[in-house]
């Protein structure tokens, strides 16, 4: 069974069809596939977390490499399970607040670099060698700058839109956003369609051998 590609593809194809049946209506076959899928995903995580993270941490890093500070990590993590015991449930807030603190620190440390890159990339020289009307050229560089500033103005929260610059900027910004969203939507269609093409090639080709 485990070496036979026909069985493998048939199993895969049946589950594929179960999931597609949701498009028509939520139904028993979809529910079956959904629950098996969620169950498998959870089983996978249990296996992987144990074999690739916890076991090496305990057996190797703590026991052999003597990285004893990791014991505190495990204890703090285990405090999460106190939430099932009402009397000591508040202890679960300890790991939670540490994680949130880590998250906040992480944002404050690792956001500046990409933020700066975005800023410096916006320092644009207007004059440029003309390539094509839709590619690099001076007009497009100036337009980019105007669009960028206008869209940023759109986001002001507390600045009143009572002067022509603010109104103009925000209006440009609104239209630029619509162009951006429309084009990003259109650009994504291609990728999403190719996902289904992939499933068709699997069903019609790998499974049924109707495509050479």
């Amino acid at each position: 069974m485990f070496d036979n590609p026909t069985i493998a593809n048939t199993v895969g194809a049946i589950f594929t069809l179960f999931i597609f049946s949701y498009l028509w209506k939520e139904n028993a076959l979809y529910r079956l596939a959904e629950h098996i899928y969620v169950g498998l995903s959870a089983g996978y995580i249990v296996t992987m977390n144990w074999h690739t993270t916890l076991k090496p941490a305990i057996q190797q890093e703590i026991a052999v490499d003597k990285q004893y500070y990791l014991i505190t990590a495990i204890i703090i993590g285990l405090l999460m399970y106190t939430r099932y015991f009402p009397k000591i449930a508040w202890l679960a807030r300890i790991p939670m607040s540490i994680w949130v603190g880590y998250g906040v620190g992480y944002v404050l440390v690792f956001s500046p670099a990409p933020f700066i890159t975005q800023i410096t990339n916006s320092f644009q020289k207007f004059s440029a060698k003309y390539t094509t009307w839709y590619g690099t050229n001076t007009v497009n560089n100036i337009l980019f700058f105007i669009f960028l500033i206008g869209t940023m103005m759109y986001f002001f929260f507390t600045v009143k839109r009572d002067n022509p610059i603010m109104v103009g900027g925000a209006t440009i910004g609104r239209y630029v956003l619509m162009l951006a969203f429309g084009s990003a939507f259109g650009n994504t269609v291609q990728g999403r369609v190719s996902l289904f093409i992939g499933r068709c090639q699997y069903l019609l080709g790998d499974w049924l051998h109707l495509i050479k």
């Binding site: 498009l23 028509w24 690739t52 990339n121 590619g135 690099t136 990003a184 650009n187 994504t188 269609v189 291609q190 990728g191 999403r192 369609v193 190719s194 996902l195 289904f196 093409i197 992939g198 068709c200 090639q201 019609l204 109707l210 495509i211």
Partner: protein, 275 residues
């Protein structure tokens, strides 16, 4: 309910069935369509084709089954092109969930072209903490990769790996990264392309192309194939038509259907609003 109401409120299931048909039929009965080559695809091909005969091509397979339709055809066509030029290929996957599929397609191409594992190609596979391993491989591939390849063989025992010590221009002539997100082409940019100066071209999914295009223009990537259409163009340039070429008809008809539906819906909307 008049015709214009109907146009405005086509049931989603009708849309789904039509869409499935316009995609499945062209796959079963391919319809040739004229392809225009995008400049980035041409650059990508020119770069790969211009690599020295007998050199080393590094392929980064940084995606999984979700993007396989768009990216695998580029990998296959590029591998065929490289093997035809007697180049060696080293494959490295930074997505755990994609390592097996990458191994399988490259192995299929190598077998088809009579290339020998360890001599003509090597698959390093996936490693935990993949981006850091990549950075390490710019100093020493075998150490960083913990000494083993995809199947657990010793890398040091493979003739190709005895020649290629690290990812630097001295050893690797060019990189093709098949990328769908992070880790991916940006990881290469950060650890390999910028600091080491190994030239790299990328194949990206249509969804993420807008993000990578500026870097092609800035010369950080030597070229780019955009989604399935880019893959089909690339297949055409290399002369190895494959699954992308077969899929491009389905792609075109599906776009046409969606646009047609939008137009019909709007006709219904406008007429009803006037009336």
């Amino acid at each position: 309910m008049n015709i214009f109401d109907v146009l405005q409120s086509v049931d989603r299931r009708v849309i789904y069935v039509l869409l499935a048909l316009v995609i499945a039929i062209p796959l079963l009965k391919p319809i040739p369509l004229p392809l225009s080559i995008a400049p980035e695809t041409q650059q990508c091909y020119d770069f790969l084709n211009g690599l020295p005969d007998g050199g080393v091509l590094w392929i980064g397979g940084d995606y999984d089954s979700g993007s396989a339709t768009e990216l695998t055809p580029v990998g296959i066509a590029a591998a065929k092109l490289a093997f035809k030029k007697n180049m060696k290929i080293i494959l490295y996957s930074m997505w755990n969930t994609g390592a097996t599929q990458n191994h399988n397609w490259l192995k299929a191409v190598a077998d088809e072209m009579g290339k020998q594992y360890g001599v003509d190609w090597v698959d390093i596979g996936w490693k935990a903490q993949a981006p850091y391993v990549l950075r390490g491989m710019t100093d020493d591939i075998i150490t960083a990769a913990q000494g083993t390849d995809f199947e657990g063989n010793s890398l040091a025992s493979l003739p190709l790996m005895q020649q290629v010590k690290k990812i630097t221009p001295e050893y690797v002539d060019g990189i093709l990264d098949l990328t769908t997100g992070s880790p991916g082409a940006d990881t290469y940019l950060q650890y390999v392309i910028e600091p080491k100066g190994v030239p790299c071209t990328v194949a990206v999914t249509a969804v993420s192309s807008a993000q990578y295009m500026p870097r092609v223009r800035a010369g950080q990537y030597k070229g780019l194939t955009n989604g399935l259409s880019g893959a089909a163009e690339f297949e055409k340039l290399t002369g190895f038509p494959g699954k992308a070429t077969a899929g491009i008809g389905a792609q075109a008809f599906s776009h046409a259907l969606i646009i047609l539906l939008i137009i019909l819906g709007n006709i219904g909307y406008v007429v009803n609003r006037r009336g």
